[in-house]
């Protein structure tokens, strides 16, 4: 019951935050220099289409009415028409969302698990060579400049060795061929995903490793570890069953906190690899002054951050029964 109450409270908080973001974005798009009409309506449209869109977005109304229209349009999924693609923005971002979620969640989960696993080992060998090298390696990977790492990986594994495709998510010849089955398509996407995934993984696992290591070292000083030792349990059991689950909790929290940061990195990765996700769409929209698309992509990314934060909170509550709300 308690946890339901907690989720409900967080949901309300998230809703309020989202509402504020929505409002700030509205104000920014209206107050920025230039005419909001030219910003939201494609200048190459026919006058009738333009008039229709202006009426739909309420751009001919006073500003407070525009705000109402804006909210109504938002909740009915009407974000206007993309300048570049010429179709409804909503369908574009809906189309890109799964690709982002696929790449992003795989990379976060993979780096968190590997980071926790390696951090556990590093803490167990504290002061030894294994620990020094792991810590140093984690530090270096963590501070690599993401787009550069992406370019280097493409250069080495895509261009020089040729193991992986240079960019994109699918090979058209496989997807257009009606005879190729699910597994072939699956393998094709996986093949394209290796390098972007490796980029995000290398950047992220280091911080989880370092955090897990120090958290593990703290946990090992606790009394119940001493008790476990006194009971004569093997070191392996103590490490994996007594210390690690508790030590992993701060890592879960940090996944939540670093999400916003990682999404920026996600946008860079998607852009360099031409991965058809929301982040790349946002960068593209901003570069080409495609304002409706930029606005919607940004809102969607904010939504993704907020929802993932909620997921992390709930996960935390589930993992740590000591927590009281």
């Amino acid at each position: 019951m308690e946890i339901r109450k907690f989720i409900f409270k967080r949901l309300i908080e998230i809703f309020v935050i989202f509402f504020v973001i929505l409002t700030v974005l509205f104000l920014l798009f209206r107050l920025a220099p230039g005419d909001p009409v030219t910003r939201m309506v494609d200048p190459t449209m026919t006058p009738e289409d333009a008039a229709h869109l202006i009426a739909q977005l309420g751009l001919d109304q006073p500003i407070w009415l525009q705000y109402i229209y804006y909210l109504k349009n938002f909740f009915t999924g009407n974000f206007g028409i993309s300048f570049h693609y010429g179709v409804a923005v909503f369908s574009i971002i809906l189309n890109r969302l799964p690709n982002t979620i696929l790449l992003f969640s795989t990379s976060i989960l993979l780096s968190a698990f590997v980071g926790i696993f390696l951090g556990k080992i590093a803490s167990w060998h504290k002061g030894e060579k294994t620990d020094t090298w792991m810590t140093l390696g984690a530090l270096i990977c963590h501070t690599l400049f993401l787009p550069w790492l992406a370019l280097i990986l493409i250069w080495i594994f895509g261009f020089n060795i040729g193991w992986f495709p240079l960019n994109g998510m699918i090979s058209p010849e496989i997807w257009l061929d009606s005879s190729s089955g699910f597994w072939l398509k699956f393998l094709d996407v996986a093949h394209h995903m290796v390098l972007p995934l490796a980029t995000l993984f290398l950047i992220h696992f280091g911080s989880y490793l370092l955090l897990m290591r120090s958290s593990m070292l703290d946990t090992l000083r606790e009394d119940y570890i001493l008790t476990a030792r006194a009971k004569g349990l093997t070191e392996k059991v103590i490490r994996n069953h007594h210390a690690a689950p508790n030590a992993a909790l701060p890592v879960v929290t940090s996944v939540g906190i670093s999400l916003a940061f990682s999404l920026g990195g996600g946008a860079l990765t998607e852009t360099v690899f031409s991965w058809p996700g929301i982040g790349r769409e946002l960068v593209f929209a901003v570069s080409n002054s495609d304002y409706p698309l930029a606005q919607a992509s940004f809102l969607l990314i904010a939504t993704v951050v907020l929802i993932s934060n909620l997921v992390v909170d709930v996960l935390y509550a589930y993992l740590d029964p000591r927590i009281k709300y």
């Binding site: 530090l139 993401l146 790492l149 955090l211 703290d218 701060p250 946008a267």
Partner: protein, 293 residues
């Protein structure tokens, strides 16, 4: 004060990671200083406008150009040196401003409590969930090309919440201590209590956070420049990478692709190492709260 510093220094210099970090940092600082000399030798060594008259495409390293030239014949080494200057400038000024904001807001929130505290911390939560890079991207699309100081300011405005949380927690525990009570009884104003009595005690923590903020500021500026939203009148490392990438030289010109990326990575690494070493000097118990970015 000096004694405390010397004591800290004696702990610090035992730290391997700290020593590596500081050495790297000194090298980069020297690079930034050296950036003033090449344009004086010959105008063709100017990082932005200097073009070698004999070269019109990217060339590999030679005696005349130690690291080669870019696509219009500008010297890569000179750009690299100038980039170090920009990185320091952006990193340190953005970090300083965000730390200033974070410290003041954190102290005020912690000290006043109640509604002010709630409001400020909710604001912090809100800003914390925004991806800074993407927010700055959106703003630059709305307000046109941003100059380097606007970018610095925006980074500072969006990077204070993490600091303010820690400073607030510290202030909460400080304000219960007897010496604060004593100051109040002696008639000190709230302003004086905050800035005269609380601030000196949270300052080391702010300083520690500053090293981590330098790292994130440099990365954000580089990423913006890489995506093509940097200040067009400056030569930053991110800008150099954008040129390699956008002009399609990344497969042909490793001498051009490698140096800027290595520099960004090493500089952020050195600040990060500095921070981690300082952390151990200041307080081993703080370890958990920091490595989160």
């Amino acid at each position: 004060m000096v004694e405390r510093f010397l004591e800290g220094w004696s702990v610090y210099k035992e730290n391997l990671i700290g020593k590596i970090g500081l050495t790297l940092l000194v090298i980069f600082a020297l690079m930034a200083l050296c950036s003033f000399f090449p344009p004086m030798i010959d105008p063709m060594y100017h990082p932005m406008t200097g073009v070698d008259p004999n070269i019109s495409h990217s060339t590999s390293p030679s005696w005349r150009h130690w690291l080669g030239t870019d696509f219009i014949g500008r010297d890569i080494l000179c750009q690299l040196l100038a980039g170090a200057r920009i990185a320091f400038m952006v990193g340190i000024s953005a970090a300083f401003m965000s730390i200033l904001l974070g410290t003041v807001i954190g102290m005020i929130a912690g000290y006043s409590g109640k509604i002010v505290d709630t409001l400020l911390m909710r604001l912090a939560d809100m800003i914390m969930v925004m991806p800074t890079l993407l927010v700055v991207l959106i703003l630059s699309s709305l307000f046109g090309q941003l100059n380097i100081w606007t970018i610095v300011l925006l980074i500072a405005l969006f990077r204070w919440p993490g600091v303010s949380r820690v400073i607030r927690a510290q202030t909460l525990s400080l304000k219960e201590r007897p010496f604060i009570e004593a100051a109040k009884v002696a008639g000190a104003s709230h302003f004086r209590v905050i800035f005269r009595h609380i601030m000196p005690n949270v300052l080391p923590l702010s300083l520690l956070y500053m090293t981590f903020r330098v790292t994130s500021a440099i990365i954000i500026e580089a990423a913006l420049a890489f995506l093509g939203f940097g200040d067009p009148s400056t030569v930053s490392w991110g800008m150099m990478l954008q040129w390699v990438w956008k002009t399609g030289h990344m497969f042909q010109a490793p001498y051009w692709l490698l140096p800027p990326g290595i520099c960004i990575s090493l500089l952020t690494l050195s600040f990060y190492m500095l921070g981690r070493a300082m952390e151990e000097v200041l307080d081993p118990r703080l370890r958990k709260e920091i490595a989160q970015e």
